[in-house]
């Protein structure tokens, strides 16, 4: 069985090749082989396989990679839309927001 791919052409992953130092850290942390090295520069090889976990951007020392990271979880989207916060781990947390302590269900 081939690799499972979710919806096409939705992913927010972006690469600024100019900034890439070719360290390869993003290739290591990506769990879906989205990125690959080519001539000492990284390139996006399989964009639709990206799940926007944010590991690559988090570990890019030159900020060449950007992505609107988040958890692809419908329950989390619903909880956020209903204004539930913190009481459940299944909420969409915007980055730089302080991490909530309680967690009662999901993931």
């Amino acid at each position: 069985m081939g690799k499972m791919i979710y919806l096409k052409d939705v992913v927010t992953l972006k690469l600024n090749k100019e900034k890439c130092s070719g360290c390869g850290m993003c290739v290591i942390v990506c769990p879906h082989a989205v990125l690959n090295m080519n001539n000492r520069k990284v390139h996006i090889e399989n964009k639709d396989a990206c799940m926007e976990c944010g590991a690559c951007a988090m570990n890019c020392p030159t900020e060449a990679l950007t992505v609107q990271a988040g958890v692809g979880c419908a329950a989390a989207v619903i909880n956020s839309a209903l204004g539930r916060e913190g009481s459940c781990c299944c909420v969409i947390e915007t980055q730089n927001e302080p991490v909530k302590d309680q967690s009662n269900s999901c993931c």
Binding site: I28, C30, H32, M51, G70, C73, A74
Partner: protein, 348 residues
Amino acid sequence: MNQPFIIGSVQTPVGDVPKISSNLRWPDHWGSIKARWGVGRMHYTVDPGLYALGNPNDQSPVLVTANYKMSFDRLRENLSNRNAWILVLDTKGINVWCAAGKGTFGTDELVRRVEFSQLNRMVSHRELILPQLAGPGVTAHKVKKRIGFKVIFGPIQAIDLPAFLDAGKKATHQMRQKTFTMPERVVLIPVELVSALKWSLLILPCFFLLGGLGAPSGFWQGVLNDGIFAVLNLLGALLAGAVLTPILLPWLPGRAFSHKGLIMGLITTLFITCFGVFYLDIRKDYMNVLAWFFLTPALSAYLAMNFTGASTYTSLSGVRKEMRWAVPLEIIGGVAGLTLWAGSRFAF
């Protein structure tokens, strides 16, 4: 906290460090099973801090994990006959990947834990081995800058650790890929099913009793006919959305989980209707039957949509896009189905 996996202690320059066993015993296995079924899952924890596995010295590798007991158990069971330091971060009892996504398995907590345990006096090297799935939370170059420790992202699964360590801390391409195989999907079903069943306990009796209302042949005959048909369909929707869709995920048509769930729900409704013809008068009960052709697929699609949270490859952008059409459709299907069903009670 009582931690039965501690089998002694190791003396170090900074004091005694608890020594842990790499053998899992039946309470550990039982604990995993309970957590898989959602029993006490949010409080299935290990005390954060440093532990010794085997007889580690200042050259031994340092492996970092979450304080979810299942994460901790997977790590230690795969390191039998090895010497290593195990650093458990306080992730509030959440597994590595989810905690990294939330930021609790993050740079700050890692730096804090390394400093608190005085790891720099414990080992002569300056390396930390983290699970690869800690990537969304930990920034390797920031850890290096702040405490001088180099973060090495190890394999995704603990089972690959021995091979990774023996290969000079090199992971193969395969070790770095997050899969979503049949067994990986199946173990996630119980938790989804249990939470859906909790709701059903409220809804099922309602439909069962309402089935009797407006029945021309009397209340109990109605319960037996329409009530049981309703219960069958609701249980069918649960089976379709929370069990069959996850199992058959790669083979069901469409990319959106709701679409897969919808198809599975329709198939299930067809099956149940075929079964229903044995005791329902289809000509008289057509509205009742039709109602479930809306309700069951809508509910199944909703449950399948929620499985995106358990899956290993859905993106937030994708889920948002899916929900923009799926949620309205599920609501319309639900309302249409309920209206038909209510109509079938009183119009015949």
